[in-house]
Protein backbone atom coordinates (compact mmCIF):
# COMPACT_ATOMS: atom_id res chain seq x y z
CA UNK A 1 0.00 0.00 0.00
CA UNK A 2 1.66 3.17 -1.10
CA UNK A 3 1.25 6.28 0.94
CA UNK A 4 0.18 9.49 -0.61
CA UNK A 5 3.47 10.65 -1.98
CA UNK A 6 4.51 14.09 -0.74
CA UNK A 7 4.74 16.63 -3.49
CA UNK A 8 8.44 16.92 -4.27
CA UNK A 9 9.41 20.53 -4.81
CA UNK A 10 9.64 21.00 -8.53
CA UNK A 11 13.25 21.58 -9.44
CA UNK A 12 12.90 23.42 -12.69
CA UNK A 13 9.30 23.85 -13.73
CA UNK A 14 10.21 25.06 -17.21
CA UNK A 15 12.22 21.88 -17.76
CA UNK A 16 9.23 19.76 -16.77
CA UNK A 17 6.99 21.69 -19.12
CA UNK A 18 9.48 21.36 -21.95
CA UNK A 19 9.71 17.60 -21.43
CA UNK A 20 5.93 17.29 -21.45
CA UNK A 21 5.67 19.34 -24.64
CA UNK A 22 8.29 17.19 -26.35
CA UNK A 23 6.52 14.02 -25.24
CA UNK A 24 3.22 15.30 -26.56
CA UNK A 25 4.77 16.20 -29.88
CA UNK A 26 6.48 12.83 -30.21
CA UNK A 27 3.25 11.11 -29.24
CA UNK A 28 1.27 13.00 -31.83
CA UNK A 29 3.68 12.21 -34.62
CA UNK A 30 4.25 8.65 -33.49
CA UNK A 31 2.22 7.02 -36.30
CA UNK A 32 4.17 8.95 -38.85
CA UNK A 33 7.44 8.08 -37.14
CA UNK A 34 6.45 4.43 -37.28
CA UNK A 35 5.97 4.50 -41.03
CA UNK A 36 2.73 6.36 -41.56
CA UNK A 37 1.05 3.17 -42.71
CA UNK A 38 -2.64 2.59 -42.13
CA UNK A 39 -1.88 -0.14 -39.64
CA UNK A 40 0.32 2.23 -37.63
CA UNK A 41 -2.52 4.73 -37.45
CA UNK A 42 -5.18 2.14 -36.70
CA UNK A 43 -3.12 0.40 -34.01
CA UNK A 44 -2.21 3.63 -32.23
CA UNK A 45 -5.75 4.95 -32.45
CA UNK A 46 -7.00 1.69 -30.98
CA UNK A 47 -4.42 1.89 -28.18
CA UNK A 48 -5.45 5.45 -27.40
CA UNK A 49 -9.15 4.59 -27.30
CA UNK A 50 -8.69 1.47 -25.20
CA UNK A 51 -6.36 3.34 -22.85
CA UNK A 52 -9.01 5.98 -22.21
CA UNK A 53 -11.48 3.14 -21.62
CA UNK A 54 -9.15 1.72 -18.97
CA UNK A 55 -8.71 5.03 -17.17
CA UNK A 56 -12.30 4.90 -15.99
CA UNK A 57 -11.67 1.63 -14.20
CA UNK A 58 -8.33 2.97 -13.02
CA UNK A 59 -9.95 5.87 -11.18
CA UNK A 60 -12.26 3.53 -9.31
CA UNK A 61 -9.45 1.14 -8.45
CA UNK A 62 -6.90 3.75 -7.50
CA UNK A 63 -9.13 6.08 -5.53
CA UNK A 64 -11.79 3.78 -4.15
CA UNK A 65 -9.74 0.61 -3.98
CA UNK A 66 -12.57 -1.28 -5.66
CA UNK A 67 -12.62 -3.38 -8.80
CA UNK A 68 -15.50 -2.31 -11.00
CA UNK A 69 -16.62 -5.10 -13.29
CA UNK A 70 -19.37 -2.96 -14.73
CA UNK A 71 -17.50 -0.34 -16.71
CA UNK A 72 -18.27 -2.20 -19.93
CA UNK A 73 -21.72 -0.74 -19.32
CA UNK A 74 -20.43 2.82 -19.73
CA UNK A 75 -18.23 1.79 -22.65
CA UNK A 76 -21.34 0.40 -24.34
CA UNK A 77 -23.46 3.43 -23.46
CA UNK A 78 -20.94 5.63 -25.25
CA UNK A 79 -20.85 3.37 -28.28
CA UNK A 80 -24.60 2.96 -28.52
CA UNK A 81 -25.23 6.69 -27.98
CA UNK A 82 -22.84 7.60 -30.78
CA UNK A 83 -24.26 4.94 -33.08
CA UNK A 84 -27.96 5.52 -32.51
CA UNK A 85 -27.89 9.30 -32.41
CA UNK A 86 -25.67 9.75 -35.43
CA UNK A 87 -27.34 7.11 -37.60
CA UNK A 88 -30.94 7.86 -36.67
CA UNK A 89 -30.87 11.61 -36.08
CA UNK A 90 -27.74 12.67 -37.88
CA UNK A 91 -26.36 14.36 -34.81
CA UNK A 92 -22.80 15.61 -34.99
CA UNK A 93 -19.88 14.54 -32.84
CA UNK A 94 -20.28 17.19 -30.16
CA UNK A 95 -23.92 16.31 -29.59
CA UNK A 96 -23.31 12.60 -29.39
CA UNK A 97 -20.39 13.20 -27.02
CA UNK A 98 -22.54 15.38 -24.79
CA UNK A 99 -25.26 12.73 -24.82
CA UNK A 100 -22.70 10.10 -23.90
CA UNK A 101 -21.48 12.10 -20.92
CA UNK A 102 -25.00 12.80 -19.74
CA UNK A 103 -26.15 9.19 -20.06
CA UNK A 104 -23.05 7.88 -18.32
CA UNK A 105 -23.52 10.25 -15.41
CA UNK A 106 -27.12 9.15 -15.00
CA UNK A 107 -26.25 5.46 -15.24
CA UNK A 108 -23.32 5.80 -12.88
CA UNK A 109 -25.40 7.82 -10.46
CA UNK A 110 -27.92 5.03 -10.31
CA UNK A 111 -25.41 2.22 -10.12
CA UNK A 112 -23.28 4.14 -7.64
CA UNK A 113 -26.23 4.74 -5.38
CA UNK A 114 -27.11 1.05 -5.51
CA UNK A 115 -23.58 0.01 -4.59
CA UNK A 116 -23.10 2.66 -1.93
CA UNK A 117 -23.22 0.23 0.92
CA UNK A 118 -21.41 -2.62 -0.77
CA UNK A 119 -17.73 -3.30 -0.45
CA UNK A 120 -15.08 -5.33 -2.18
CA UNK A 121 -16.33 -8.45 -3.85
CA UNK A 122 -19.98 -7.62 -3.38
CA UNK A 123 -19.34 -4.31 -5.11
CA UNK A 124 -17.61 -6.15 -7.93
CA UNK A 125 -20.40 -8.69 -8.24
CA UNK A 126 -23.09 -6.03 -8.27
CA UNK A 127 -21.35 -3.96 -10.93
CA UNK A 128 -20.96 -7.16 -12.90
CA UNK A 129 -24.64 -7.97 -12.51
CA UNK A 130 -25.52 -4.51 -13.78
CA UNK A 131 -23.41 -5.09 -16.88
CA UNK A 132 -25.12 -8.43 -17.50
CA UNK A 133 -28.57 -6.87 -17.26
CA UNK A 134 -27.53 -4.05 -19.58
CA UNK A 135 -26.15 -6.60 -22.04
CA UNK A 136 -29.41 -8.53 -22.06
CA UNK A 137 -31.34 -5.31 -22.65
CA UNK A 138 -29.07 -4.23 -25.50
CA UNK A 139 -29.17 -7.70 -27.05
CA UNK A 140 -32.95 -7.92 -27.04
CA UNK A 141 -33.97 -4.34 -27.72
CA UNK A 142 -34.16 -4.16 -31.48
CA UNK A 143 -34.85 -0.45 -31.48
CA UNK A 144 -31.32 0.34 -30.33
CA UNK A 145 -29.66 -2.31 -32.42
CA UNK A 146 -30.64 -5.75 -31.20
CA UNK A 147 -28.34 -8.75 -31.45
CA UNK A 148 -26.74 -7.71 -34.75
CA UNK A 149 -26.09 -4.14 -33.66
CA UNK A 150 -25.95 -0.97 -35.71
CA UNK A 151 -24.02 -0.76 -38.93
CA UNK A 152 -23.11 2.07 -41.20
CA UNK A 153 -22.07 4.63 -38.61
CA UNK A 154 -20.89 7.53 -40.70
CA UNK A 155 -17.73 9.50 -40.17
CA UNK A 156 -17.28 11.62 -37.07
CA UNK A 157 -18.20 15.24 -37.68
CA UNK A 158 -16.90 17.92 -35.35
CA UNK A 159 -18.07 21.33 -36.51
CA UNK A 160 -15.90 24.23 -35.42
CA UNK A 161 -18.08 27.08 -36.62
CA UNK A 162 -16.04 27.96 -39.67
CA UNK A 163 -15.14 24.41 -40.68
CA UNK A 164 -16.01 20.87 -39.79
CA UNK A 165 -13.43 18.32 -38.88
CA UNK A 166 -14.35 15.01 -40.43
CA UNK A 167 -12.97 11.83 -38.95
CA UNK A 168 -13.56 9.06 -41.43
CA UNK A 169 -10.27 7.30 -41.93
CA UNK A 170 -7.84 6.08 -39.30
CA UNK A 171 -5.49 8.94 -40.15
CA UNK A 172 -8.26 11.44 -39.52
CA UNK A 173 -9.41 9.82 -36.29
CA UNK A 174 -5.93 9.68 -34.77
CA UNK A 175 -5.79 13.36 -33.76
CA UNK A 176 -9.18 13.02 -32.09
CA UNK A 177 -8.12 9.87 -30.24
CA UNK A 178 -4.84 11.49 -29.23
CA UNK A 179 -6.64 14.61 -28.02
CA UNK A 180 -9.05 12.49 -26.00
CA UNK A 181 -6.13 10.63 -24.45
CA UNK A 182 -4.35 13.86 -23.54
CA UNK A 183 -7.52 15.28 -22.05
CA UNK A 184 -7.95 12.16 -19.97
CA UNK A 185 -4.36 12.23 -18.75
CA UNK A 186 -4.64 15.92 -17.89
CA UNK A 187 -7.90 15.26 -16.06
CA UNK A 188 -6.43 12.46 -14.03
CA UNK A 189 -3.31 14.41 -13.19
CA UNK A 190 -5.54 17.20 -11.99
CA UNK A 191 -7.86 14.83 -10.16
CA UNK A 192 -4.98 13.43 -8.19
CA UNK A 193 -4.31 16.83 -6.69
CA UNK A 194 -7.91 17.85 -6.40
CA UNK A 195 -9.89 17.99 -3.24
CA UNK A 196 -12.06 15.05 -4.22
CA UNK A 197 -9.06 12.97 -5.20
CA UNK A 198 -7.12 13.49 -2.02
CA UNK A 199 -10.24 13.07 0.07
CA UNK A 200 -11.01 9.80 -1.67
CA UNK A 201 -7.52 8.51 -0.96
CA UNK A 202 -7.83 9.49 2.65
CA UNK A 203 -11.16 7.71 2.97
CA UNK A 204 -9.62 4.63 1.42
CA UNK A 205 -6.55 4.55 3.63
CA UNK A 206 -7.59 6.08 6.91
CA UNK A 207 -11.35 6.04 7.36
CA UNK A 208 -11.33 7.23 10.99
CA UNK A 209 -9.26 10.28 10.09
CA UNK A 210 -11.59 11.09 7.26
CA UNK A 211 -14.60 10.70 9.53
CA UNK A 212 -13.06 12.95 12.14
CA UNK A 213 -12.57 15.58 9.47
CA UNK A 214 -16.27 15.45 8.71
CA UNK A 215 -15.98 13.73 5.36
CA UNK A 216 -19.01 11.78 4.19
CA UNK A 217 -17.46 8.68 2.63
CA UNK A 218 -20.62 7.82 0.76
CA UNK A 219 -20.69 11.12 -1.07
CA UNK A 220 -17.05 10.70 -1.97
CA UNK A 221 -17.65 7.17 -3.24
CA UNK A 222 -20.55 8.23 -5.37
CA UNK A 223 -18.71 11.23 -6.77
CA UNK A 224 -15.64 9.25 -7.75
CA UNK A 225 -17.72 6.52 -9.34
CA UNK A 226 -19.79 9.02 -11.28
CA UNK A 227 -16.69 10.83 -12.51
CA UNK A 228 -15.11 7.62 -13.73
CA UNK A 229 -18.05 6.70 -15.97
CA UNK A 230 -17.96 9.36 -18.71
CA UNK A 231 -14.27 8.70 -19.27
CA UNK A 232 -14.91 5.12 -20.28
CA UNK A 233 -18.07 6.32 -21.99
CA UNK A 234 -16.23 8.75 -24.25
CA UNK A 235 -13.80 6.01 -25.21
CA UNK A 236 -16.78 3.94 -26.31
CA UNK A 237 -18.13 6.96 -28.16
CA UNK A 238 -14.99 7.31 -30.25
CA UNK A 239 -14.75 3.55 -30.76
CA UNK A 240 -18.14 3.61 -32.47
CA UNK A 241 -16.80 6.02 -35.07
CA UNK A 242 -13.55 4.14 -35.49
CA UNK A 243 -15.20 0.79 -36.05
CA UNK A 244 -18.34 2.09 -37.80
CA UNK A 245 -20.19 -0.74 -36.07
CA UNK A 246 -21.61 -1.12 -32.59
CA UNK A 247 -23.23 -4.19 -31.12
CA UNK A 248 -23.76 -6.12 -27.89
CA UNK A 249 -20.18 -7.31 -28.29
CA UNK A 250 -19.28 -4.06 -26.49
CA UNK A 251 -20.16 -5.94 -23.32
CA UNK A 252 -17.84 -8.84 -24.00
CA UNK A 253 -15.24 -9.98 -21.50
CA UNK A 254 -12.59 -9.10 -24.09
CA UNK A 255 -12.93 -5.44 -23.08
CA UNK A 256 -13.42 -6.16 -19.40
CA UNK A 257 -10.26 -8.23 -19.20
CA UNK A 258 -8.34 -5.56 -21.08
CA UNK A 259 -9.51 -2.93 -18.60
CA UNK A 260 -8.50 -5.02 -15.60
CA UNK A 261 -5.17 -6.13 -17.00
CA UNK A 262 -4.01 -2.74 -18.19
CA UNK A 263 -4.92 -1.12 -14.91
CA UNK A 264 -3.38 -3.71 -12.66
CA UNK A 265 -0.26 -4.76 -14.53
CA UNK A 266 1.67 -1.52 -14.25
CA UNK A 267 0.39 -0.35 -10.91
CA UNK A 268 -2.01 1.93 -9.15
CA UNK A 269 -1.95 5.67 -9.30
CA UNK A 270 0.71 5.63 -11.97
CA UNK A 271 -0.40 8.25 -14.45
CA UNK A 272 0.70 6.44 -17.60
CA UNK A 273 0.11 2.98 -16.13
CA UNK A 274 -3.08 2.09 -18.02
CA UNK A 275 -1.65 3.56 -21.20
CA UNK A 276 1.44 1.40 -21.03
CA UNK A 277 -0.62 -1.62 -20.03
CA UNK A 278 -2.96 -1.15 -22.99
CA UNK A 279 -0.06 -0.66 -25.38
CA UNK A 280 1.55 -3.89 -24.22
CA UNK A 281 -1.68 -5.85 -24.60
CA UNK A 282 -2.54 -4.55 -28.05
CA UNK A 283 1.04 -4.97 -29.21
CA UNK A 284 1.03 -8.60 -28.11
CA UNK A 285 -2.31 -9.29 -29.74
CA UNK A 286 -1.39 -7.71 -33.02
CA UNK A 287 2.29 -8.31 -33.40
CA UNK A 288 3.03 -11.39 -31.35
CA UNK A 289 -0.17 -13.33 -31.72
CA UNK A 290 0.38 -17.06 -31.39
CA UNK A 291 -3.21 -18.03 -31.98
CA UNK A 292 -6.24 -17.65 -29.74
CA UNK A 293 -5.33 -20.43 -27.31
CA UNK A 294 -1.70 -19.47 -26.76
CA UNK A 295 -2.67 -15.83 -26.46
CA UNK A 296 -4.97 -16.76 -23.60
CA UNK A 297 -2.19 -18.68 -21.91
CA UNK A 298 0.23 -15.80 -22.32
CA UNK A 299 -2.22 -13.16 -21.15
CA UNK A 300 -3.32 -15.24 -18.19
CA UNK A 301 0.22 -16.10 -17.18
CA UNK A 302 1.43 -12.53 -17.39
CA UNK A 303 -1.49 -11.36 -15.31
CA UNK A 304 -1.10 -14.05 -12.69
CA UNK A 305 2.69 -13.92 -12.48
CA UNK A 306 2.97 -10.15 -12.31
CA UNK A 307 0.46 -9.95 -9.51
CA UNK A 308 1.81 -12.91 -7.58
CA UNK A 309 5.33 -11.60 -7.53
CA UNK A 310 4.62 -7.89 -7.58
CA UNK A 311 1.14 -7.32 -6.18
CA UNK A 312 1.61 -3.61 -6.61
CA UNK A 313 2.25 -4.05 -10.31
CA UNK A 314 5.36 -3.74 -12.41
CA UNK A 315 5.94 -0.31 -10.98
CA UNK A 316 6.66 -2.02 -7.68
CA UNK A 317 9.46 -3.89 -9.38
CA UNK A 318 10.86 -0.65 -10.73
CA UNK A 319 10.72 1.00 -7.35
CA UNK A 320 12.55 -1.90 -5.81
CA UNK A 321 15.28 -1.47 -8.39
CA UNK A 322 15.37 2.21 -7.62
CA UNK A 323 15.69 1.57 -3.92
CA UNK A 324 18.31 -1.10 -4.43
CA UNK A 325 20.45 1.29 -6.36
CA UNK A 326 20.04 4.22 -3.97
Amino acid sequence: MTLIEPQSPSRAPWLQIAVVVVLIAVGFFLPRLLGGTSIAYSTLTTIAIFAVMCYGVDIVLSYLGEVSLGHTLFWAVGGYAAANLSVKYGMNGWSTAAATIALCIVAAGFLGAVTLRTREFVFSLVTYAAAVVAYEIAFNWDAIGGSDGIVGISALKLPFGFATYVGGTQEELWPVAFALLLLTLAFIARFRRSRLGTTALMVQMNPPLAASLGVDPRKVRLAVFVISAPITGLAGWLYAYQRAYVGPDMFETYFLVMMLTAVVVVGRRVLVGPLIGTAILIAQQNLLSLGGDWNKIILGSVLALVLIFWPAGLIGLLRRFGKARA
Partner: protein
Protein backbone atom coordinates in the same frame (compact mmCIF):
# COMPACT_ATOMS: atom_id res chain seq x y z
CA UNK B 1 -49.44 -31.66 -16.03
CA UNK B 2 -47.44 -28.82 -17.46
CA UNK B 3 -47.10 -27.29 -14.01
CA UNK B 4 -45.94 -30.49 -12.38
CA UNK B 5 -43.37 -31.10 -15.09
CA UNK B 6 -42.08 -27.55 -14.76
CA UNK B 7 -41.66 -28.08 -11.03
CA UNK B 8 -39.63 -31.16 -11.80
CA UNK B 9 -37.64 -29.16 -14.36
CA UNK B 10 -37.06 -26.42 -11.82
CA UNK B 11 -35.77 -28.85 -9.22
CA UNK B 12 -33.46 -30.46 -11.77
CA UNK B 13 -32.05 -27.11 -12.86
CA UNK B 14 -31.88 -25.84 -9.29
CA UNK B 15 -30.02 -28.81 -7.88
CA UNK B 16 -27.44 -28.29 -10.60
CA UNK B 17 -27.02 -24.63 -9.65
CA UNK B 18 -26.78 -25.46 -5.97
CA UNK B 19 -24.23 -28.20 -6.55
CA UNK B 20 -21.92 -25.96 -8.57
CA UNK B 21 -22.32 -23.01 -6.21
CA UNK B 22 -21.42 -24.74 -2.94
CA UNK B 23 -17.66 -24.57 -3.25
CA UNK B 24 -17.76 -21.00 -4.45
CA UNK B 25 -19.85 -19.73 -1.60
CA UNK B 26 -17.68 -21.40 1.00
CA UNK B 27 -14.53 -20.04 -0.57
CA UNK B 28 -16.06 -16.60 -0.65
CA UNK B 29 -17.34 -16.84 2.89
CA UNK B 30 -14.16 -18.16 4.44
CA UNK B 31 -11.39 -16.65 2.37
CA UNK B 32 -13.28 -13.73 0.85
CA UNK B 33 -11.81 -14.85 -2.43
CA UNK B 34 -13.69 -14.42 -5.69
CA UNK B 35 -12.53 -17.30 -7.81
CA UNK B 36 -12.83 -16.16 -11.41
CA UNK B 37 -11.45 -19.46 -12.60
CA UNK B 38 -14.59 -21.24 -11.38
CA UNK B 39 -15.99 -21.62 -14.89
CA UNK B 40 -12.77 -23.03 -16.30
CA UNK B 41 -12.46 -25.38 -13.34
CA UNK B 42 -15.97 -26.61 -14.12
CA UNK B 43 -14.92 -27.21 -17.70
CA UNK B 44 -11.80 -29.04 -16.56
CA UNK B 45 -13.82 -31.16 -14.17
CA UNK B 46 -16.03 -32.20 -17.07
CA UNK B 47 -13.06 -32.97 -19.31
CA UNK B 48 -11.24 -34.83 -16.56
CA UNK B 49 -14.31 -37.04 -16.18
CA UNK B 50 -14.49 -37.50 -19.93
CA UNK B 51 -10.81 -38.33 -20.20
CA UNK B 52 -11.07 -40.85 -17.39
CA UNK B 53 -14.02 -42.57 -19.01
CA UNK B 54 -13.11 -42.43 -22.67
CA UNK B 55 -9.32 -42.53 -22.68
CA UNK B 56 -8.63 -44.46 -19.52
CA UNK B 57 -11.71 -46.64 -19.69
CA UNK B 58 -12.76 -46.07 -16.11
CA UNK B 59 -16.39 -46.60 -15.13
CA UNK B 60 -18.40 -43.51 -14.30
CA UNK B 61 -18.11 -43.58 -10.49
CA UNK B 62 -14.34 -43.97 -10.65
CA UNK B 63 -14.15 -41.26 -13.26
CA UNK B 64 -15.95 -38.88 -10.92
CA UNK B 65 -13.43 -39.69 -8.25
CA UNK B 66 -10.57 -39.20 -10.66
CA UNK B 67 -11.90 -35.78 -11.64
CA UNK B 68 -12.24 -34.76 -8.02
CA UNK B 69 -8.70 -35.84 -7.23
CA UNK B 70 -7.26 -34.21 -10.34
CA UNK B 71 -8.89 -30.90 -9.60
CA UNK B 72 -7.98 -31.10 -5.92
CA UNK B 73 -4.34 -31.38 -6.90
CA UNK B 74 -4.72 -28.51 -9.35
CA UNK B 75 -6.40 -26.44 -6.67
CA UNK B 76 -3.57 -27.09 -4.26
CA UNK B 77 -1.06 -25.93 -6.84
CA UNK B 78 -3.07 -22.81 -7.61
CA UNK B 79 -3.51 -21.93 -3.98
CA UNK B 80 0.18 -22.49 -3.36
CA UNK B 81 0.99 -19.94 -6.02
CA UNK B 82 -1.48 -17.46 -4.59
CA UNK B 83 -0.62 -17.99 -0.92
CA UNK B 84 1.40 -14.83 -0.58
CA UNK B 85 -1.50 -12.70 -1.73
CA UNK B 86 -3.95 -14.65 0.40
CA UNK B 87 -2.00 -14.07 3.57
CA UNK B 88 -1.76 -10.35 2.94
CA UNK B 89 -5.45 -10.36 2.10
CA UNK B 90 -4.81 -8.50 -1.11
CA UNK B 91 -8.27 -9.26 -2.40
CA UNK B 92 -8.32 -7.20 -5.57
CA UNK B 93 -5.07 -8.69 -6.81
CA UNK B 94 -6.28 -12.17 -5.88
CA UNK B 95 -9.42 -11.75 -7.92
CA UNK B 96 -7.42 -10.83 -10.95
CA UNK B 97 -4.89 -13.59 -10.41
CA UNK B 98 -7.73 -16.12 -10.53
CA UNK B 99 -8.91 -14.45 -13.70
CA UNK B 100 -5.45 -14.90 -15.19
CA UNK B 101 -5.24 -18.51 -14.05
CA UNK B 102 -8.65 -19.13 -15.55
CA UNK B 103 -7.39 -17.90 -18.88
CA UNK B 104 -4.36 -20.16 -18.67
CA UNK B 105 -6.61 -23.11 -17.92
CA UNK B 106 -8.84 -22.28 -20.84
CA UNK B 107 -6.05 -21.88 -23.35
CA UNK B 108 -4.24 -24.92 -22.04
CA UNK B 109 -7.32 -27.11 -22.11
CA UNK B 110 -8.08 -26.07 -25.68
CA UNK B 111 -4.60 -27.11 -26.71
CA UNK B 112 -4.72 -30.40 -24.82
CA UNK B 113 -8.28 -31.51 -25.41
CA UNK B 114 -8.96 -29.76 -28.67
CA UNK B 115 -11.91 -27.68 -29.78
CA UNK B 116 -14.36 -30.43 -30.69
CA UNK B 117 -17.41 -31.22 -28.61
CA UNK B 118 -17.27 -34.41 -26.57
CA UNK B 119 -19.94 -36.46 -24.94
CA UNK B 120 -19.74 -38.47 -21.76
CA UNK B 121 -21.03 -41.95 -22.43
CA UNK B 122 -21.81 -44.34 -19.64
CA UNK B 123 -23.55 -41.87 -17.40
CA UNK B 124 -27.18 -42.03 -16.44
CA UNK B 125 -28.13 -39.01 -18.52
CA UNK B 126 -29.88 -41.13 -21.07
CA UNK B 127 -31.62 -43.38 -18.60
CA UNK B 128 -35.09 -41.99 -18.62
CA UNK B 129 -37.64 -42.15 -15.88
CA UNK B 130 -41.33 -41.89 -16.74
CA UNK B 131 -43.56 -41.18 -13.81
CA UNK B 132 -47.00 -40.93 -15.28
CA UNK B 133 -46.63 -38.08 -17.72
CA UNK B 134 -43.61 -36.62 -15.97
CA UNK B 135 -40.18 -37.33 -17.29
CA UNK B 136 -36.65 -36.92 -16.05
CA UNK B 137 -33.48 -38.96 -16.11
CA UNK B 138 -31.71 -41.01 -13.49
CA UNK B 139 -28.87 -38.54 -13.84
CA UNK B 140 -31.17 -35.80 -12.62
CA UNK B 141 -32.06 -37.93 -9.62
CA UNK B 142 -28.36 -38.50 -9.01
CA UNK B 143 -27.62 -34.79 -9.14
CA UNK B 144 -30.37 -33.96 -6.68
CA UNK B 145 -29.41 -36.76 -4.31
CA UNK B 146 -25.71 -35.94 -4.48
CA UNK B 147 -26.36 -32.24 -3.97
CA UNK B 148 -28.47 -32.82 -0.89
CA UNK B 149 -25.95 -35.31 0.48
CA UNK B 150 -23.07 -32.95 -0.18
CA UNK B 151 -24.78 -30.03 1.49
CA UNK B 152 -25.71 -32.14 4.48
CA UNK B 153 -22.17 -33.43 4.80
CA UNK B 154 -20.62 -29.99 4.55
CA UNK B 155 -23.11 -28.49 6.98
CA UNK B 156 -22.49 -31.23 9.51
CA UNK B 157 -18.75 -30.86 9.05
CA UNK B 158 -18.68 -27.12 9.59
CA UNK B 159 -21.20 -27.09 12.41
CA UNK B 160 -20.41 -30.22 14.33
CA UNK B 161 -16.74 -31.06 13.93
CA UNK B 162 -13.70 -29.48 15.46
CA UNK B 163 -12.16 -28.66 12.13
CA UNK B 164 -15.41 -27.13 11.04
CA UNK B 165 -15.27 -24.68 13.89
CA UNK B 166 -11.67 -23.91 13.00
CA UNK B 167 -12.81 -22.96 9.52
CA UNK B 168 -15.59 -20.82 10.90
CA UNK B 169 -13.13 -19.10 13.20
CA UNK B 170 -10.83 -18.24 10.33
CA UNK B 171 -13.81 -16.97 8.37
CA UNK B 172 -14.82 -14.68 11.23
CA UNK B 173 -11.44 -13.25 12.03
CA UNK B 174 -8.27 -14.74 10.62
CA UNK B 175 -5.91 -12.71 12.76
CA UNK B 176 -7.65 -13.64 15.95
CA UNK B 177 -7.72 -17.26 14.88
CA UNK B 178 -3.98 -17.18 14.31
CA UNK B 179 -3.53 -15.89 17.85
CA UNK B 180 -5.29 -19.00 19.00
CA UNK B 181 -2.74 -21.13 17.18
CA UNK B 182 -4.77 -21.88 14.09
CA UNK B 183 -2.72 -22.10 10.92
CA UNK B 184 -4.75 -19.94 8.55
CA UNK B 185 -2.60 -20.97 5.61
CA UNK B 186 -3.68 -24.60 5.94
CA UNK B 187 -7.30 -23.58 6.27
CA UNK B 188 -7.18 -21.45 3.15
CA UNK B 189 -5.48 -24.22 1.26
CA UNK B 190 -8.07 -26.78 2.28
CA UNK B 191 -10.96 -24.49 1.49
CA UNK B 192 -9.62 -23.77 -1.96
CA UNK B 193 -8.99 -27.46 -2.60
CA UNK B 194 -12.53 -28.12 -1.45
CA UNK B 195 -13.86 -25.55 -3.90
CA UNK B 196 -12.04 -27.21 -6.77
CA UNK B 197 -13.17 -30.67 -5.71
CA UNK B 198 -16.74 -29.57 -5.26
CA UNK B 199 -16.90 -27.97 -8.69
CA UNK B 200 -15.31 -31.10 -10.15
CA UNK B 201 -18.08 -33.17 -8.59
CA UNK B 202 -20.65 -30.71 -9.87
CA UNK B 203 -19.20 -30.88 -13.35
CA UNK B 204 -19.02 -34.66 -13.38
CA UNK B 205 -22.68 -34.84 -12.46
CA UNK B 206 -24.18 -31.93 -14.39
CA UNK B 207 -22.02 -31.63 -17.50
CA UNK B 208 -23.16 -34.93 -19.07
CA UNK B 209 -26.50 -33.25 -19.83
CA UNK B 210 -24.99 -31.73 -22.97
CA UNK B 211 -21.84 -31.93 -25.09
CA UNK B 212 -18.77 -30.42 -23.43
CA UNK B 213 -16.44 -27.94 -25.07
CA UNK B 214 -13.17 -26.46 -23.88
CA UNK B 215 -14.63 -23.04 -24.59
CA UNK B 216 -17.39 -23.52 -22.06
CA UNK B 217 -17.32 -22.52 -18.48
CA UNK B 218 -18.36 -18.96 -18.09
CA UNK B 219 -21.99 -19.34 -19.03
CA UNK B 220 -22.35 -22.53 -17.09
CA UNK B 221 -21.37 -20.86 -13.87
CA UNK B 222 -22.83 -17.41 -14.36
CA UNK B 223 -25.80 -18.43 -12.31
CA UNK B 224 -23.39 -19.22 -9.48
CA UNK B 225 -23.05 -15.48 -8.89
CA UNK B 226 -26.74 -15.13 -8.42
CA UNK B 227 -27.08 -18.19 -6.20
CA UNK B 228 -24.24 -17.19 -3.94
CA UNK B 229 -25.26 -13.60 -3.47
CA UNK B 230 -28.96 -14.37 -3.12
CA UNK B 231 -28.27 -17.07 -0.59
CA UNK B 232 -25.95 -14.99 1.47
CA UNK B 233 -22.24 -15.23 1.07
CA UNK B 234 -20.85 -18.15 3.01
CA UNK B 235 -24.25 -19.44 3.99
CA UNK B 236 -24.58 -23.13 3.23
CA UNK B 237 -28.29 -23.41 3.80
CA UNK B 238 -28.76 -20.16 1.92
CA UNK B 239 -26.93 -21.45 -1.15
CA UNK B 240 -29.08 -24.58 -1.24
CA UNK B 241 -32.30 -22.61 -0.90
CA UNK B 242 -31.18 -20.01 -3.39
CA UNK B 243 -30.04 -22.66 -5.87
CA UNK B 244 -33.29 -24.60 -5.78
CA UNK B 245 -35.31 -21.42 -5.66
CA UNK B 246 -33.49 -19.99 -8.65
CA UNK B 247 -34.06 -23.21 -10.58
CA UNK B 248 -37.78 -23.05 -9.87
CA UNK B 249 -37.87 -19.35 -10.73
CA UNK B 250 -36.19 -19.99 -14.06
CA UNK B 251 -38.54 -22.86 -14.85
CA UNK B 252 -41.64 -20.85 -14.07
CA UNK B 253 -40.43 -17.64 -15.63
CA UNK B 254 -39.45 -19.55 -18.72
CA UNK B 255 -42.67 -21.52 -18.84
CA UNK B 256 -45.08 -18.68 -18.32
CA UNK B 257 -43.21 -15.59 -19.43
CA UNK B 258 -40.27 -15.99 -21.77
CA UNK B 259 -37.39 -18.42 -21.51
CA UNK B 260 -35.04 -16.22 -23.48
CA UNK B 261 -35.05 -13.51 -20.84
CA UNK B 262 -34.44 -15.66 -17.80
CA UNK B 263 -30.83 -14.52 -17.36
CA UNK B 264 -31.92 -10.90 -17.46
CA UNK B 265 -34.72 -11.63 -15.03
CA UNK B 266 -32.48 -13.52 -12.62
CA UNK B 267 -29.89 -10.76 -12.56
CA UNK B 268 -32.58 -8.12 -12.36
CA UNK B 269 -34.00 -9.80 -9.29
CA UNK B 270 -30.48 -9.98 -7.86
CA UNK B 271 -29.89 -6.28 -8.42
CA UNK B 272 -33.26 -5.37 -6.94
CA UNK B 273 -32.57 -7.47 -3.88
CA UNK B 274 -29.15 -5.96 -3.42
CA UNK B 275 -30.57 -2.48 -3.52
CA UNK B 276 -32.81 -3.38 -0.64
CA UNK B 277 -30.53 -5.71 1.28
CA UNK B 278 -26.87 -5.47 0.35
CA UNK B 279 -25.96 -8.53 2.38
CA UNK B 280 -28.20 -10.94 0.54
CA UNK B 281 -31.05 -13.05 1.85
CA UNK B 282 -29.30 -14.74 4.73
CA UNK B 283 -27.70 -11.69 6.21
CA UNK B 284 -26.02 -12.36 9.52
Amino acid sequence: MNLAQQIVNGLVLGSGYACIALGWTILLGVARLVNFAHGQLYMLGAFATWYAMVKLGLPYPLAILAAIVALAVLGALMQGAMMGLVMTQNLTSLMIVTLGLGYVLQGGSALIFGGNPQTLPGTLSRAKVDLGSLWFTWQDVLVLAATLALYAAVWLFTQKTRFGSVIRAVAEDPKLAELFGINAKVVYLLVFVFECSAVALGAALVAPRSPILTSMGFNEVIMTFVVVVLGGIGSIGGALMAGLGLGLFIAFFGAFVAQAYTTAAAFGVLLALLVVRPAGLSAK
